[in-house]
């Protein structure tokens, strides 16, 4: 394996994204976001949900691969919709 692409950031750099100004992913009000990320959302293929140094949840929606894993993992805690039409990830291979 070539060692060029190892980090998630580098891998996502391979994909074509067109970010919309507004997020399509939200952790619902009143949900313990820290616990949710640690308990469930860590499985996200793009690591969209991460905790910062202060332990707060960061949602990097612009990296979303639009699979729906977070939605199925936490249907009651997440508001999920498709990004605006024509935006988000565009697969060139698929």
């Amino acid at each position: 394996m070539s060692d060029k692409f190892k980090t998630m950031e580098d891998k996502l750099g391979l994909d074509k994204f067109k970010a919309f100004e507004k997020t399509h992913l939200k952790i619902k009000e009143g949900v313990d976001a820290h616990k949710l990320v640690e308990g469930k959302l860590f499985i996200c293929p793009a690591k969209v949900y991460e905790l910062n140094d202060k332990g707060e949840a960061i949602v990097s929606f612009e990296n979303c691969l639009e699979c729906g894993t977070c939605r199925v993992a936490a249907p009651d805690e997440i508001e999920w919709e498709y990004p605006q039409g024509g935006y988000g990830v565009t697969f060139r291979f698929g």
Partner: protein
């Protein structure tokens, strides 16, 4: 769209189910509009790697002339992965390279679905891209169309086929299916890795335009309920792994980390060595089986493909052909409904009725117990692969110990870890659901 404009059929989603429905219905003369949320049809679509073309051949017998096909699959290999190695079985039939090519081609969906969309347009369907549909237009409780999130996005039509993929928020909205269960929804992650053609031929033991499909079971997802794959394209490999969402959470596994580990496994690493990553993608697979299919129709509405849950997750791993078959039958049902000018469930129910006579619903039914069996047999993914590895490796270890003695010793040790009854029951359960 102006309110005065009304289509016979609105299709949501430009994957194999939606495009087939569009092709069939437009060709029969219906006014068809297909709404795709991506920049182009295929731009959001991901699968493992084999497009099964039996239905494609029915609706477009000459598709091989210009379809962007990668390789014809002549070799399929199944491996029971263990932490340190593998045990495998395979078939290879060069006859499959002859027409009709066993209807098994590796493809890359961004190219293939885009090509298919052009064909659907040629057949007369109107395709609007960049159009994400959030809701239905209803009048007095009756569905009259859909709302796309765009200017003039209210689109009216007599019938709607939901082919909006595994997440199908629309089918959920009108109660045709429940939320996808985490125990039987698989998240698959995949990389497309470029490798010179001659390396692909050498490493996978194929010639010319022939290709191979390698599938990995057992300890492919580091003990979680899941599997992995490598499919050979012309000059790239599709390499991926997936596991049920519930199982990955339980095992504290991030899906990308899982893929990175899969690529480093001693069995996989030499096959992809020196390759150059081209793309990273992720997608859900509805693995609920027959019992988890959505309701397939309502007044004015039919559901096809992944949106309804049509994936045969047994050893055969078929999906694209089920999507196309359901899309085809739904499209034909729309044509019949138009002839009768009746768009109520009396008409749309014909879709399910006819589908029962096809391989799509019959195969789903045959493998209906697969999701439950896998969910209740976590030993298949960690404990058994480890036991098998130990047993086979030790039996083949050449160290002067007589084989009979070795065997007796190993069986004794094996039965300490699992009862004979447990082994046999699992073996029978699994055979019934995968073959």
């Amino acid at each position: 769209m102006g309110a005065e404009e009304k289509f016979d059929l609105i299709i949501v989603g430009g994957g194999p189910a939606g495009l087939t429905a569009a092709h069939v219905a437009a060709k029969a003369g219906l006014q068809v509009i297909l709404l795709e949320r991506g920049e182009f049809c295929g731009s959001k679509n991901v699968f493992g790697g084999i497009f099964f073309t039996n239905v494609m051949r029915e609706i477009m017998p000459d598709f091989e002339k210009d379809a962007p096909l990668e390789r014809v699959v002549t070799r399929r290999r199944w491996s029971l992965m263990t932490p340190d190695g593998e045990m495998a079985g395979e078939f290879r039939f060069n006859k499959f390279a002859e027409a009709p090519h066993n209807n098994s081609y590796t493809v890359l969906r961004a190219k293939f679905d885009k090509w298919f969309a052009d064909k659907a347009e040629e057949a007369g369907a109107m395709i609007i891209t960049g159009a994400v549909v959030d809701d239905f237009i209803t009048e007095n409780g009756a569905i009259k169309g859909v709302k796309a999130r765009m200017d003039d996005g209210d689109i009216y039509g007599d019938m709607i086929i939901l082919a909006d993929g595994v997440n199908s928020l629309l089918a959920k909205k009108i109660g045709l299916h429940r939320e996808l269960p985490a125990v039987s929804t698989i998240v698959g992650v995949k990389e497309v890795i470029a490798l010179p053609e001659e390396k692909i031929l050498d490493r996978f033991g194929v010639e010319g335009s022939h290709g191979a499909a390698y599938e990995y079971f057992g300890y492919a997802a580091r003990g979680a309920i899941g599997s992995g794959f490598i499919y050979t394209n012309r000059d790239t490999l599709s390499v991926g792994v997936g596991g049920t969402i519930a199982s990955l959470i339980e095992h504290k596994l991030n899906s990308n980390d899982l893929l990175e580990d899969f690529k480093k496994h001693p069995v996989i690493a030499p096959l992809i060595k020196g390759g150059e990553q081209k793309e990273y993608s992720a997608h859900l697979i509805p693995d609920m089986g027959y019992n988890g299919l959505s309701k397939l129709y309502a007044d004015n509405v039919m559901v096809a493909g992944d949106a309804a849950g049509f994936v045969n997750a047994s050893l055969y791993h078929e999906g694209t052909n089920l999507a196309m078959e359901t899309g085809k039958i739904a499209g034909e049902a729309a044509v019949m409904a138009k002839e009768k000018n009746d768009f109520s469930s009396a008409s749309t129910s014909q879709y399910e009725k006819r589908l029962k006579e096809t391989f799509a619903l019959k195969d789903m039914k045959k493998f209906r117990n697969l999701p439950k069996t896998l969910e209740h047999s976590p030993q298949l993914f960690e404990k058994y692969p480890k036991i098998m590895e130990e047993f086979v490796r030790d039996m083949f270890t050449v160290d002067g110990e007589p084989k009979g003695k070795k065997q007796a010793r190993l069986i004794k040790r094996l039965l300490k870890q699992e009862s004979m009854f447990g082994f046999i029951k699992t073996a029978l359960d699994v055979r019934r659901v995968i073959l």
